[in-house]
Amino acid sequence: MTWSEMRPLLEQACWDTLYMVGWSTVIAVVGGLPLGILLVLTDRGGLLRNVLANKVIGQIVNVARSMPFIILMVALMGFTRWVTGSTIGREAAIVPLAIGAIPFFARLVETAVREVDGGLVEAVQSMGGNTWTVVRKVLVPESLPSLIASTTTTVVALIGYSAMAGTVGAGGLGDIAIRYGYQRFETELMWITVAILAVVISVIQFAGDYAARSLHRRGTSGPAPRLRLLKASTAAGKTV
C-alpha cells in the first residue's frame, strides 16, 4: 500500500474514532456522574443513606463492568437497534461503548467523591444547604480535579474498546489496524495506526493531567518553579 492509498483510510478512521469516543464519553459522563454520586450518597453515613438502593446500584455497576465489551455489544443489539435504528455503523457502536463506560466512570466518580472531606458537607448543612446544594457546591467542585482525571482514564479506555467496534462496521483506528494491518498483512499500516493511537492517547493524557493539575494547584503555588526562577533572576538583576 502506498501512502496516498493509506491516507484517506487513516483520515476517515481517525475521524470515526474521535466521533465514537467523543460521543460515548459525553454519555458516559452524563450517566456515570450522577450514578457515582448516588453510590456515595446512598452509602452508610451518606446524605441519602439507603442500603437497598446502594446495593442494587452497586450490583448493576459490577455486573456491567464484568462483561467483556464484545459480549456487551452483542447483548445490547436489540437495545441498540431500538435507539439508533441499526446495529451496524458508528452510531450503533456508540450505544454499547457508552453503556460500557457508564459503570466504569461511575466507579471512578465514586472514588473521587469519597475523597471529599466530610467536614465540608457538614459545613454546608450547617448553613442550611440541602442535599442538592451539597452535590452542586461541594462534592462536584471539590472533586473536580479527580473527576477530570477520571474522565481522561475513561477516554483512554474507550479508545481501547473502540477497536472492537470495527466488528459492527463502525470503522476507527483499531478497526484499520485489525482488518488491514493484521488480517491483510499490511504491517506498515498497522504500525502507523498504532503510532497514531499512541500519539492520540498521549495527547489526551497530557491534556487531562494538565487540566487536573492546574485546578488542583489553585491557590497553592501555581506553576511555581519557573515563576520563582524568574522572580529570583529579576531580583538579582536589580541588586546588580
Binding site: 450547617s126 448553613m127 442550611g128
Partner: protein, 346 residues
C-alpha cells in the same frame, strides 16, 4: 437563647452501644459566651451538633431563639425546609475550618448567601463587609491554601456570620491553632460577641479558652454535664472542679498534722489583708504554699493555698473567721461543704 433539655444520643456500631449524651440540660443566655469543656469523648462534639440538628438526638429537645428545632426536624434523616431555614440563622465554625479549596476566600464567605438565594451584588457587598470585619479585606481573592491557620479560621468566622445569625456555634475553633493565633481568634470572637450581641456556644478541651472569653461554662464528663454556671458562680462553689481547673494552685502539705486551705478571693474580699489579720488574731503561723491572681471571665480573682499548723479539728475557729470575711474556703482532704452547682445554677 439556646436551651436543651434531656438530650440523649446513642451511637450503635457493630452491636455495641455508646452513649454520647446522657440527658443534657443546657441553658445559654442571650448575648453570653458559653463554654462547654471536657475531655475528648465526653460528648461535647455530639452536643454542639445536636444544637443545630446536624445530629439527631435520640430524645430531648433543642430550642434556639425560641424555636423548637427538634420539632422541625421530622423523622427522616434529611433536613426539611424549615429546619434548614433555622440552621441558616445559626452560624458554625469548625476546628478544621472546612473551607472549600476550590473557591476563593470571598466565594467561601458568599456560599451561605448563595444558599439563601441572595443576589450576586448583595452577596459580594456582604462578603467584603464581613472580610473587613474579621480583618481580611485584602485576602478576598486568595484561595484558602494560601492562608495561615488563623486566617483560615477568620474566613470561617466571616462565613458563619454571613446569614446574620444570632447564635454562633464554635466546634473547637482554636484547637488546631498555635497559642498566639488562638488568642487573636478568641479576641475576635469576644469582640463579635460584644459588637453584634452574638450569643456564642463553644466547645473546647482547653481551659484557657474558657478562662479568657467565657461568661459561663459547663463541664462535661461521660455524656453528662457535671457542673455549670457563670464563671463567678463556679468560682464561688466550694469543691468545684471547673473552678480549680480554671484556677489551679499547687503545693503539698508539709506534714500530717497540718491543715491545707484553698482561699479564693473575689471582688471586695480581695482588698482585705485577711491573712495577716488571721495570723495576728489567732497567733498562728501561716505558710503560703501557692498563690495566683488572674482574670477569669473578666473578673479579678485571687487564689491562695495556705497551710495552718494542726489538724482540721484544731483550726475550725480560724477557718470560720476566714469564711466570715467573705472568702471562699476549701479545706483539702475534707468533703466540700455543699454539693456541686447542678443545673439549678442558671
Amino acid at each position: 437563647m439556646i436551651t436543651t433539655s434531656g438530650l440523649t444520643k446513642v451511637y450503635r456500631s457493630r452491636g455495641r452501644e455508646v452513649t454520647a449524651l446522657d440527658g443534657v440540660d443546657l441553658h445559654v443566655r442571650e448575648g453570653e459566651v458559653y463554654g462547654v469543656i471536657g475531655q475528648s469523648g465526653a460528648g461535647k462534639s455530639s452536643l454542639i451538633r445536636c444544637v443545630n440538628l446536624l445530629e439527631r438526638p435520640a430524645s430531648g429537645t433543642v430550642t434556639v431563639a425560641g424555636r423548637d428545632l427538634t420539632a422541625l426536624a421530622g423523622r427522616g434523616p434529611r433536613a426539611g425546609r424549615e429546619l434548614r431555614q433555622a440552621r441558616s440563622r445559626i452560624g458554625m465554625v469548625f476546628q478544621h475550618f472546612n473551607l472549600l479549596s476550590s473557591r476563593t476566600v470571598q466565594d467561601n464567605v458568599e456560599l451561605p448567601l448563595e444558599i439563601l438565594g441572595r443576589s450576586g451584588r448583595e452577596r459580594s457587598r456582604k462578603a467584603l463587609e464581613l472580610l473587613d470585619l474579621v480583618g481580611l479585606a485584602d485576602k478576598a481573592k486568595a484561595y484558602p491554601a494560601q492562608l495561615s491557620g488563623g486566617q483560615k479560621q477568620r474566613v470561617g468566622i466571616a462565613r458563619a456570620l454571613a446569614g446574620d445569625p444570632k447564635v454562633l456555634l464554635s466546634d473547637e475553633a482554636t484547637s488546631a491553632l498555635d497559642p498566639e493565633t488562638t488568642r487573636s481568634i478568641l479576641q475576635l470572637l469576644r469582640d463579635l460577641n460584644r459588637q453584634l450581641g452574638l450569643t456564642v456556644l463553644l466547645i473546647t478541651h482547653e481551659m484557657d479558652v474558657v478562662k479568657s472569653i467565657c461568661d459561663s461554662a459547663a463541664l462535661m464528663e461521660k455524656g453528662r454535664i457535671v457542673e455549670s454556671g457563670t464563671v463567678s458562680e463556679l468560682l464561688a462553689t466550694p469543691g468545684s472542679e471547673l473552678a480549680s481547673a480554671l484556677f489551679p494552685v499547687g503545693g503539698e502539705a508539709s506534714g500530717d498534722d497540718r491543715t491545707v486551705l484553698d482561699v479564693t478571693f473575689q471582688g471586695e474580699a480581695a482588698a482585705q489583708p485577711v491573712i495577716s489579720q488571721l495570723s495576728r488574731t489567732y497567733n498562728i503561723d501561716i505558710s503560703i504554699l501557692g498563690a495566683a491572681i488572674d482574670t477569669v471571665g473578666g473578673l479579678q480573682v485571687g487564689r491562695m493555698r495556705v497551710e495552718l499548723p494542726g489538724r482540721y479539728e484544731d483550726n475550725v475557729v480560724p477557718i470560720g473567721f476566714l469564711r466570715e470575711q467573705g472568702l471562699q474556703i476549701d479545706v483539702l482532704g475534707q468533703e466540700p461543704a455543699s454539693v456541686l452547682v447542678k443545673e439549678g445554677a442558671k
